[in-house]
């Protein structure tokens, strides 16, 4: 009996798998476990209740659909035995969702395509003031009634504009796209709601079409999607700026509680009163300070003028306050008048200037200097003949 090396053995096994036509390009159904992606290769195990097989999918990014751990899938590919590790892998060339029917499969594939494209990343912020809401939905039934009732209860002044559409059946997605585009270009609404009640996946089909998803993502207005029950997610939900679990919730999200708004206005009115009071008090204080300053100046001027002291007394009586200042000003005027150089001139004194400068000493004069003599009623020029 020949004895083989490990390499020989593993190479032999590898060849058996490679040669086996029946194992080439086969599909296996199972649940994904331990899903991980590294350097664009996806590694996972495919398992069912009794068995599991290691799988690897090279260039996983090229797949239309990528599962996560726990998803049921159908993988297509071929087994390969790796000599070095002595390990069997299933090399996956294609992964498809499984177990939810053809429609769900298509939904997942389209969702993944739009996700990769970044269509679900285009979100805009909710505007501050929403007064008119455009609703794309059926004009009859519980959905529109719920939206109207909730919106009116919270904000009675809000306007609701309904764009009537078929919410299922042939042509419904065209209706819905038209409604979204209409409101997008309609300046008289501030936000848009795309709404529909719950239903089977088939019933929500229009909201899972590429056309609707793109119209929603392209809508420049803030758009809330409220399609189906809380547990149903549609492509419309993913593409919207915001997803509301129910139509009523959409109305609630877009309206503010009137009681809160009234409180807001009341607060502004209180704030205005407070601000004007602050301003009034500041102005009053400034005025008070100016008067005090004036008073202090008068006192110091009067003191310098040598007329004694005027005492400042705290006095809240405004008329007295002014009277005292008036008296002080009059007194100061008198004193200043006493110091008026013109009054001295009236008594026969004159001022002499040389080159524009007042002179107070003969030492500043030389023979032949030209001077000016100022009287109370005019001046005269003179020349110095001699000095002593």
């Amino acid at each position: 009996m020949p004895i083989y090396s490990v390499l020989q053995f593993n190479s032999y096994v590898k060849n058996i798998f490679r040669m086996e036509e029946l194992l080439r390009n086969i599909s296996i159904k199972g649940e994904v476990g331990d899903w991980s992606v590294s350097a664009d290769n996806a590694y996972f195990v495919l398992k069912d209740a009794e068995a599991q097989v290691n799988c690897v999918c090279f260039e996983a990014d090229a797949q239309d659909y990528l599962p996560k751990t726990g998803d049921k899938v159908i993988v297509t590919g071929s087994p390969a035995y790796y000599v070095k590790g002595g390990r069997l892998n299933f090399n996956v060339s294609k992964i498809e969702p499984c177990g939810e029917g053809e429609l769900y499969k298509q939904f997942l594939i389209l969702k993944n395509k739009l996700l990769k494209e970044g269509l679900f990343d285009r979100k805009s912020a909710m505007p501050d003031n929403i007064r008119r809401i455009g609703v794309v939905t059926s004009p009859t039934g519980a959905v529109i009634n719920d939206i109207i009732n909730v919106a009116k209860r919270r904000s009675p002044y809000i306007d609701i504009v309904v764009f009537p559409v078929k919410v299922q059946g042939i042509g419904s997605e065209l209706d819905i796209v038209e409604g979204i585009k209409f409101f997008d270009g309609y300046s008289r609404v501030d936000a848009v709601v795309v709404a529909r009640g719950g239903g089977a996946l088939e019933d929500l089909n229009a909201y899972n079409t590429e056309a609707v998803a793109r119209a929603v993502a392209d809508c420049g207005k803030f758009l809330v999607s409220a399609v189906g029950h809380e547990t149903d997610y549609t492509l419309c939900d993913f593409a919207a700026d915001l997803r509301a679990p129910t139509p009523s919730a959409a109305a609630e999200l877009l309206t503010s509680d009137i009681a809160a708004e009234k409180e807001g206005v009341k607060q502004i009115s209180l704030r205005l009163k407070e601000l004007v009071n602050i301003k009034y008090n500041a102005a009053r204080d400034r005025f008070g300070r100016s008067l005090l300053e004036l008073e202090n100046r008068i006192i110091s001027l009067t003191q310098r003028a040598g007329t004694g002291v005027i005492r400042a007394q705290a006095d809240l009586n405004m008329s007295m306050f002014f009277d005292r200042r008036e008296a002080a000003v009059v007194r100061m005027q008198d004193k200043l008048a006493g110091l008026n150089p013109l009054r001295l001139a009236e008594q026969g004194y004159a001022r002499i200037t040389k080159e524009g400068q007042y002179l107070d000493s003969v030492k500043d004069l030389s023979v032949n200097d030209k001077i000016k003599i100022y009287f109370q009623d005019g001046h005269a020029s003179a020349e110095i003949q001699s000095k002593g």
């Binding site: 004009p139 002044y157 009234k262 502004i268 004007v276 009034y280």
Partner: protein
């Protein structure tokens, strides 16, 4: 601001103006007489906003497609 001017204002623009007035009033450099005028204007605006909130009733309309566009017609339940 005249009375008629207030009457035609939307709630949003009244609130925007109130915010501007509040900012101006908070500014220490606004003179007192101007401040008092702003305050009066603000009071008028808050009353106007309150009236809108208390009295205004929004409409529910339906878009009706026409050959040359669309128009809003009153919405009646069940139509």
């Amino acid at each position: 601001m005249g009375k008629n001017e207030v009457k035609t204002k939307s709630f949003e623009s009244a609130m925007d103006e109130l915010n501007i007035i509040t900012r101006k009033l908070s500014d220490g450099s606004t003179p007192l007489d101007e401040g008092i005028a702003l305050y009066q204007q603000g009071l008028e605006l808050t009353k106007y906003c309150m009236d809108i909130l208390s009295e205004a009733r929004g409409k529910v309309t339906l878009i009706k497609k026409e050959f040359d566009g669309a128009l809003e017609v009153p919405y009646r339940e069940g139509e």
